[in-house]
Amino acid sequence: MSHGELTGNQLPAEPEKATLEGRNKILGFWFFLGGEMVLFGSLFATFIGLRNQIADGPAPQELINLTMTAVMTLVLLTSSLTSVMAIQAMHRKDTAKMYLWFIVTFLLGLTFLILEIIEFVEYVHHGHKFTTSAYSSAFYTLVGFHGAHVTFGLGWLLTLLIPFGRKGLTVTTAPKMYVFGLYWHFVDVVWVFVFTIVYLMGKVG
């Protein structure tokens, strides 16, 4: 870049928005999230339409363990908070803190994923497989797509954090961190609807 890589105190106030590339990335990502809303909306629509078609599989009331769901929700919600803390640290130019908060985010996200895998294995043992019924296919597709987004996010975070020590915080790396933050929040917002519509509504009937 012709203006060199500003670092430390030379960095402008909102480094992620300081370049045209950065602003483009952020706006483009917001639009991508708009499209993701339609994607998840369609998956939710499928689930809502098919949620009573349990064929000869177990009913959601007997299947769902709300304690597990509550723990997973708490974990993911906290990870969303820690990602906010990371971006706040970035705005304060405190790269060490930013790095730390992102690591905590990663660990919490990983915990969520592990819990979800344990949950799925449990469900399969109870006879709730992908091919069991329309309800089960819709369940695993919706919740699985969310889990896939979490997984992708964790991989993405790794590729951002690993070279970060060498690159440091610049007007090029700042938008990447910010965009990741947006993605991670979005994944959490989707989970809010997943636990409401799949798990809570499943228990209610």
Binding site: M37, F44, D188, V192, M201, V204
Partner: protein, 105 residues
């Protein structure tokens, strides 16, 4: 800190919120409370219709807070993202309306 307060010319930015963790912690606390409320509502055994309407509303409120505070939709320069989300939401709602009313057995 205080990055959003004034521009070089001294004009106040629209919707100035002091940059700082307070609002974010508040949103976190609110999210926990709303989530807890939803779980409690389900165990409390109200009528299914009421429970569903209640927990879905709670979900929307929580989502809105997270979007507006954690994702900075309240800050200036977010007109286009807001439009993007509103339109996306409209289409998503259309899909859900379709699934609720227009498929049959």
């Amino acid at each position: 800190m205080a990055d959003h307060e004034t521009t070089v010319t001294g004009q106040r930015n629209k919707r100035v919120i002091h940059e700082g963790p307070k609002n974010h912690y508040l949103t976190f606390a609110l999210s926990i409370i709303l989530t807890l409320l939803a779980f409690v509502a389900v165990s409390a055994g109200f009528s299914p219709t009421f429970t569903i309407v209640f927990i879905v509303t709670l979900a929307f409120v929580q989502a809105l807070f997270q979007l507006v505070v954690w994702m900075h939709l309240k800050d200036r320069g977010h007109t286009h993202p807001i439009w993007g989300l509103v339109l996306g939401f409209t289409v998503a709602l259309t899909c859900i309306a379709m699934a609720v009313w227009w498929i049959w057995w």
